[in-house]
């Protein structure tokens, strides 16, 4: 496996694991409070929808000219990556609340207890819809990452396998502890995903626009640590409070 392929698999695995942890919290809350069967039907329907999206868009993306593909994919990855990285830096600097799976689980559980639901052919519609929406929304971003990374490297299978491994690990851990995975270092994982997405996006986007990197693929070995160090530096800059004081 080449270095770029390892980066691809790692990025997809981390991104998918983070989203799966958040989806698991929703499904656990609805399943334990109302109906496991209905919640799992919702999960199944969402997974089928996401797989269909990958199946439909994957071939279309891989048939694009490589420079156009890299330009589009690079731009998308940078925009996505910067969103992940910005939120992770703000959380690490204490300017945004950390995502709390226990609190999210408590809120979802309370909402599930209070909600009215209808039974359709033995399926609790509330459990089905909430699980379906939760998995679909959390999964959409993963689908984009799987498609962009996979199509660009012509390794859709590897990207999909990495996503599958991440989901399996999170589901196994969820079943083992039978509770939301509150101890997962979500923000550190989001920080890493943001760095990887932005770095690969920068590399591919510039190539797609016609630039040539010194050292070709090896340039990524410089881009990734430089961006990570710069982002850590920005956490310290924000922790210092200069920006907030300046605005006050």
């Amino acid at each position: 496996m080449s270095g770029t392929e390892v980066g691809l698999a790692l990025s997809v695995l981390l991104a998918c694991a983070v989203e799966a942890v958040e989806a698991l919290t929703i499904v656990l809350a609805v399943g334990t409070t109302r109906s496991w069967r209905s919640a799992l039907y919702g999960v199944g329907a969402a997974v089928v929808a996401l797989a269909a999206l990958v199946g439909a868009l994957g071939p279309a993306l891989t048939s694009m000219p490589i420079d156009t593909l890299r330009l589009v994919v690079g731009g998308l990855l940078i925009v996505f990556g910067l969103q992940w990285l910005r939120k992770a830096v703000l959380r690490a600097a204490g300017l945004k609340a950390l995502h709390d799976e226990k609190a999210a689980f408590a809120a979802q559980t309370a909402a599930a207890r209070d909600a009215q639901g209808r039974l359709m052919r033995g399926i609790d519609t509330y459990s089905f819809v909430i699980s379906f929406k939760g998995v679909l929304l959390e999964g959409l971003e993963v689908v984009v990452i799987v498609l962009t990374f996979g199509a660009n490297q012509h390794k859709l299978g590897l990207a999909a396998a990495a996503a599958g491994v991440a989901v399996a690990l999170v589901v196994l851990a969820g079943f083992a502890v039978r509770a939301p995975l509150a101890r997962v270092p979500e923000n550190a994982m989001k920080f890493a995903v943001g760095v990887m997405l932005t770095s690969f996006g920068t590399f591919w986007g510039a190539e797609g626009a016609g630039a040539s990197w010194p050292g070709n693929d090896a340039a990524l070995l410089v881009i990734i640590p430089v961006l990570a160090l710069a982002a850590i530096g920005m956490v310290m800059w924000l922790r210092g409070g200069a920006v907030v004081e300046e605005a006050a």
Partner: protein
């Protein structure tokens, strides 16, 4: 209009200035790529600047 708005929010999020900056930086890279071998410099610098500016805007709102 709702699907378009959802797609916009999904791709661009709450920071359209950053998305616009990415598009402009890619455009500049493309425009100078034929005339200089150092066009690769544009994207890393743009990404670092866009992240810092985005964080400054978010921190001021916090």
């Amino acid at each position: 209009m709702k699907p378009l708005r959802s797609a916009w929010e999904f791709v661009v999020g709450d920071d359209w200035q950053t998305a616009l900056g990415v598009v402009l930086a890619l455009g500049v890279t493309g425009a100078i790529a034929d005339s200089t071998g150092a066009a690769w410099v544009v994207m890393p610098l743009a990404v670092l600047a866009l992240l810092a500016l985005s964080l400054r805007r978010a921190a001021r709102r916090a």
